[in-house]
Symmetry: C2
Amino acid sequence: MAIEKSKRGGATLAEVAAAAGVSKMTASRVLRNAPGFSNQTRDKVMLEVQRLGYVPNRIAAAFGSDQTSTLVGVCVPRLTSDLFGSVLDSIDHTLSKFGYQTMIGTHEQSPEVEETWLRAILAWRPAGVILSGRTHTRGTIEILRAQSIPVVEVWNLNTSPLDVSVGFNHYDCGHEMGSFVLSKGYENIAYVGAETNAEGMGKVRRQGFEKALQNAKREFLTKEILTDRPSFYAGYYGTENVLNRTNDVDAIYYQDDTMAVGGLFYCKSKGLNVADDIGIAGWGGMEIASVLPERLTTTIVTTRALGKAAAEALVARVRNEPVQDVTVATTRLVPGNTI
Amino acid sequence: MAIEKSKRGGATLAEVAAAAGVSKMTASRVLRNAPGFSNQTRDKVMLEVQRLGYVPNRIAAAFGSDQTSTLVGVCVPRLTSDLFGSVLDSIDHTLSKFGYQTMIGTHEQSPEVEETWLRAILAWRPAGVILSGRTHTRGTIEILRAQSIPVVEVWNLNTSPLDVSVGFNHYDCGHEMGSFVLSKGYENIAYVGAETNAEGMGKVRRQGFEKALQNAKREFLTKEILTDRPSFYAGYYGTENVLNRTNDVDAIYYQDDTMAVGGLFYCKSKGLNVADDIGIAGWGGMEIASVLPERLTTTIVTTRALGKAAAEALVARVRNEPVQDVTVATTRLVPGNTI
DNA sequence: ATGAAAGCGCTAACAC
DNA sequence: GTGTTAGCGCTTTCAT
């Protein structure tokens, strides 16, 4: 009987070993660069690997050995966001540098969707998972504990994390911006955001801002939170709503820079003088700001550093190396000329 | 001897079966909803599944059965792009709807990086892969053929695809825009793009545009292709370079809308009258355009439809259902008032 | 409707 | 430096 090829294309380790005239174990050692083979053996094996186009079967490897894979699950709110995209990109680069593969998912700010995703992912016995949900379902928490799998919570700063947290201090961002806007003499401030049912961390920034207002015995004059995702147009439209509702507003704090830029254009389209007639502040330090005639007052956040730190923390946890429970990624309020 | 728990957390099928007082096979049938069990049996099994917090082990399942997983590898140029992000988001939603998990990678327009990624991914015996590289290395092509795995090439339209291709006709987009710009009386047209060493499909659009120029016995007055990624600032800076180099330019075709918007702001900052002094055309139909005072002349592309079509084509291929070799996703030139 | 046995491709543990 | 044995958790095949 000829050597039976496995169903789909690839040769198996056994075939490579047979062709090279060594045992499976020896071939395995060569391929994993584990100690215990001569140069001559290596050459023989590698020759056959080349010749047969052998592709290792990690499913079998993960199954046969330690029961965990080099897969890492990463779930972000959505993929269509400069900020999350940048974090994910950075996570993926870092993970792949360490030899892990990234499995993605999106939760659109729904803890239930996150849980559904998680259950599917855990079936792959990932080395760890990176979550970005602000809150998790009870089911998520239980299943994570039961599997005792490394978890990094990213984006938000969680002072009592499931496992490890790497994030921005959104509350402080909001609070700092609130104080700044007040210090510039603005008094009648509105908020424009999106994602009514699950605002994610925008809500926390708003709360930080509100705290600053409270400290000055003030509050938001009005809040406009659209049932939409943050976007340029959502900012434009939200601003229109706010300004139609009241003439008293002299500044607006936006959920993020896309919305702030949208608002900026609305104001300009109405002939308003930005900063003088109406102050505008955003969050995120997005790239669009680099080409605007105005320098947008915003909070710059280090998304790539955040992603890298999160991935590195996960790898460290997987390897049982010491990891800080909570890591704060840098944010910096950058005054422009829109406030 | 007590039942030995597997290393990490989870109960095994055997444990669930034992607890429910049935065989592994019966429990397996219940969990996969395969025919051959009574309602009573199902209830017993599901009760234990709940009680033990059983998470199926897909690694073992994939290994034990057909040697392919429900994993799908998707490699895009980068994650920090509205357009690619939207395609990926749509792919992931569609795949997960069909029960597949998405493994991602980025190639940054390098075929070698794509190949490296592919080798790592194929080791997981994915059900299929979705690639977006314009060109592939010889190694990529060989390994894909050898594994005889379903492949969908997305983004670019490939008339002789490895397997299945779903994409935009970038050449036609460029050609159509070229004809349009000429029809508006512009004569001295420049091109501003990015990613010198590997332009991706921007290059094809440029060639389509060039063809339209050639048909009118013309050519680009000058081309500025930055070593950078396309971005707002790259467009701003590229435009500055072009206009510093020559005064004769009366229109610029940009690699995409981000660059076009960057260019637009540069022109405005110099007091140029857009459309009259200088025409501007982009590609992509990006969201920012919705809030600009100018309506950007651009080509709208259906990224979500593209992603959905690509994922559906992959699933069909995996299931051995008939699939069109080549599918063209919709693009539409939308005249604004910047040309 | 249910179960028993075999085996998927690899690696850990232990010989030699 | 190399080979042998056993087994990971599941599904397939074949009985019953």
